[in-house]
């Protein structure tokens, strides 16, 4: 932990390993699923891949025996995200979850961002109903928080409203919408075709747009006070700096 303080902009080896897994190993597995196991069920394979992407996070996290304070901060942020999703249950897609996950990633690092997102997706479905969509939501929320953490560490994402809002809108539209729509396409086609993909994206576009606008609005309202509070807690109790 101490050497991270000295060389702050450098990514830790753990973060590097995890991003390698997500950005390289998973796409390769997906390609194998699509090109080698042509006859098999896409949906089933993709579910397996998603679960398999989340395993390294869990293992790394368990292995380093996290402190009680660290655990509980992640739990609080995930609970706020779940409560936020519950509070806006009457407005479809208009949810603050992505905004809170991004703030978590920026303040507490990529790994915490992923855990907050995945946990929020998982637990909120205990209130709204589990289904084959759960792993997809967990993965999408988690990866948005993870990338937010990495971009912040690299210095490409600032703690300013403008920068957070741009990242929030783009990531919700492209990452969340992009992955969730592929998931729903895989459920009912045997062969992924360009027309099918286009049709799914076109039909889902407005839902994703509403979701992205909601993320931007929530980031606009929440980012400054929430980051201030989190920074204060970090300074007051000397919590880990990512």
């Amino acid at each position: 932990m101490s050497d991270q303080h000295i060389t702050k902009p450098r990514l830790s080896r753990r973060t590097l390993f995890a991003s390698l897994l997500i950005l390289v190993v998973i796409p390769i597995t997906m390609c194998i699923g699509i090109f080698v196991l042509q006859d098999r069920k896409y949906y089933f394979i993709s579910l397996l891949i998603l679960l398999y992407t989340m395993i390294p996070f869990a293992m790394v996290f368990e292995k380093r025996k996290p402190q009680a304070r660290e655990l509980i901060v992640i739990a609080v942020l995930a609970a706020i995200a779940v409560a936020g999703r519950g509070a806006f249950f009457m407005l479809p897609q208009f949810k603050p979850v992505v905004a809170i996950v991004i703030i978590a990633g920026v303040c507490f690092g990529a790994e915490s961002g992923f855990l907050v997102g995945a946990m929020a997706g998982f637990v909120s479905n205990f209130f709204f109903g589990q289904g084959p969509w759960t792993p997809w939501q967990m993965f999408c929320f988690g990866i948005i928080g993870f990338i937010a953490g990495i971009l912040f560490q690299k210095g490409w994402l600032k703690k300013s409203k403008l920068s957070l809002c741009i990242y929030g809108g783009v990531s919700t539209l492209l990452i969340y919408g992009g992955i969730i729509n592929i998931g729903s396409l895989m459920m009912f086609t045997p062969h992924i075709t360009w027309e099918g993909l286009l049709a799914v994206y076109a039909s889902g576009f407005w839902f994703d747009m509403v979701h992205a606008i909601a993320t931007v609005i929530f980031l606009l309202l929440l980012s400054r006070p929430m980051i201030e509070k989190l920074e204060r807690i970090k300074a007051k109790y000397g919590l880990i700096d990512p």
């Binding site: 368990e62 996290p66 609970a79 946990m119 998982f122 049709a199």
Partner: protein, 296 residues
Amino acid sequence: MRDSFSTYHPLINFVYFVAVITCNMVFMHPIFQVIALLSAGSYSILLKGGKAVRFQLLFMLPLLLLMATVNPLFNHAGVTILFYLDNGNPITLESILYGIAAACMYVTVILWFSCYNAVMTSDKFIYIFGKILPALSLIFSMVLRFVPRYAAQIKVISHAQKSIGRDVSQGNIVRRARNGMRILSIMMSWALENAIETADSMKSRGYGLPGRTSFSTYRFDRRDTIVFLIMLGLMAVIGAAAFMGQNSIRFFPSIRIQPMSMVSIMVYIAYGFLCVLPVVIRLVEDIKWKFIASKI
């Protein structure tokens, strides 16, 4: 009436649902699909009664029909062309049948998950994963606890703010919004401070030290062993059949399935028994109860 399958050991419940949902996603064979659809539907009716019937008729049936009709419109693979659409795309027998099978599969998965939600409560989930993933299970249980707790705390804060005229129900619309934001802000600070206190309290009570055990009310007894062995036996039969290709079906370019034989009928029976296992356990228990109750 309490569901007796739910009273078995959490491991049995979890393995059962993983097994049936996996089988359901992998085996597209029509007989397997029908078996799974019927048993998932009847188990969810047993668990939830009239609500499940309404859910199945109002949401699942239309979804099944919709998905079955949409597939042939987008998917034109297959050799048996029935007719052509106006835009020149063919409608094939294979894509219609595939649509029906895929729709069946999807609806059955949702039905299995509705049973899963009723049987695998969060405490069982924590019990199973507490040993493998202690930290994540702890976070999970804390999040579950925090959500209702925050809802209650918001009420407390809002009452206090009301007494000084700063509640969301007071003032004009701009002030109301500002008051609401303030309440949320107070809530956030409270949640974070409270969290640190909880963490310190956990630490002072020795969280993470070796040699600590956790409380649970579950016991793996003889009844669980018997059911577990039956389940493993059935799964072995189904797995062996899958290895021999008995359970698979090829839709494109033309439909091909294994011809029916004695072996395949055995496999259907095994799969059917696996799927209706909770229903059977429930009914046997109900009959036993009636029999005992009538003697008193």
